[in-house]
């Protein structure tokens, strides 16, 4: 009973907060609601046994990416766009698509009845060894290729930021 209640609280709050984020007229308010949203998502990760992911959610998303969002909003200095509602003309269509998607999902939800056999890392194994230890063991052995490619993605992000946003770059 308690896990269901716990999950229900976070599921409902996350949905509500997401709606708040996309409906606020002041983008700074949107970002602040997003902060609350990120913290709730982090709590959901803890609940799903992904403690490291929860910590990353707080450090990277709530800590760094949100600041980036705020900078971009300040950079654009949206004023006119707040008053004109030009980005919102297509919301009925989006709403329709979203509703259909939810309906479809509700209909097929009970098909999640079959579960694959649990792998090496059951909940007990993870709790016994520690979450970060298990992630470290898997990430740096089995998934070493995606890990190295990730560093290239980060490098490209650095180059992109400099190439596109630096005021003067030498030709």
């Amino acid at each position: 009973m308690l896990p269901e209640l716990f999950f229900a609280y976070f599921a409902v709050t996350i949905t509500g907060l997401s709606i708040l984020v996309i409906t606020r007229k002041n983008p700074v308010h949107s970002v602040l609601w997003m902060l609350v949203l990120f913290i709730h998502i982090a709590a959901l990760y803890v609940f799903l046994n992904a403690e490291f992911l929860a910590a990353v959610q707080i450090i990277v998303y709530a800590g760094a990416i949100l600041v980036l969002f705020l900078f971009v909003i300040m950079l654009l200095n949206l004023r006119k766009e707040e008053i004109e509602q030009k980005f919102q003309k297509q919301w009925p269509l989006g709403m329709l698509a979203g509703t259909l998607f939810i309906l479809f999902f509700v209909i097929i939800l009970n098909k999640f009845a079959v579960f694959p056999a649990p792998g090496e890392y059951s909940i007990q194994a993870i709790q016994g060894e520690g979450n970060i230890m298990v992630i470290g063991k898997v990430l740096y052995t089995e998934y070493l290729l995606p890990f190295e490619i990730a560093s290239l993605v980060l490098l490209v992000a650095i180059i992109g930021a400099v190439v596109l946003a630096k005021k003067k770059i030498s030709e």
């Binding site: 803890v46 600041v67 300040m74 200095n77 560093s151 980060l154 400099v162 005021k167």
Partner: protein
């Protein structure tokens, strides 16, 4: 629900969160309840050291902030990858060490690039 559990270890975190929220919100709430409410236009204008307010409250930020913030995000993510590596270090041994050297080396090139392009300087 399979795969989920009530994270009892995190109960103190929850309590601290609640207390911190209360410490922040309670004084504000008390203020709203207790203070006298007499509003008039002059009182509602923003206070700018006694001068009449000039211009919009929000001003445009320089795009330089964006580069700095973006670089911060990238190196922040790099640091996140170091946590599990450090914890699992004695289990993944030499391979893990070499992998991390390659990872850091690739980002080091990014760092040299940023440094040489003077993206960290305030022009």
């Amino acid at each position: 629900m399979p795969g989920t559990y009530i994270p009892l270890n995190y109960l103190p975190v929850l309590i601290i969160l609640i207390v911190a929220t209360l410490v922040g919100l309670l004084p504000l709430l008390l203020g709203i309840i207790l203070r006298p409410k007499r509003y008039y236009p002059l009182k509602l204008t923003p206070y700018e050291s006694g001068n009449p307010p000039v211009g919009e409250p929000q001003s445009k930020f320089s795009v330089r902030f964006y580069i700095i913030a973006m670089l911060f995000v990238v190196f922040d993510v790099e640091a996140v990858f170091l946590y599990p590596w450090a914890v699992a270090y004695d289990r993944i041994g030499l391979y893990g060490f070499i992998e991390m050297i390659i990872f850091i080396f690739i980002l080091l090139i990014g760092y040299i690039y940023v440094w040489e392009k003077k993206a960290l300087e305030w022009e």
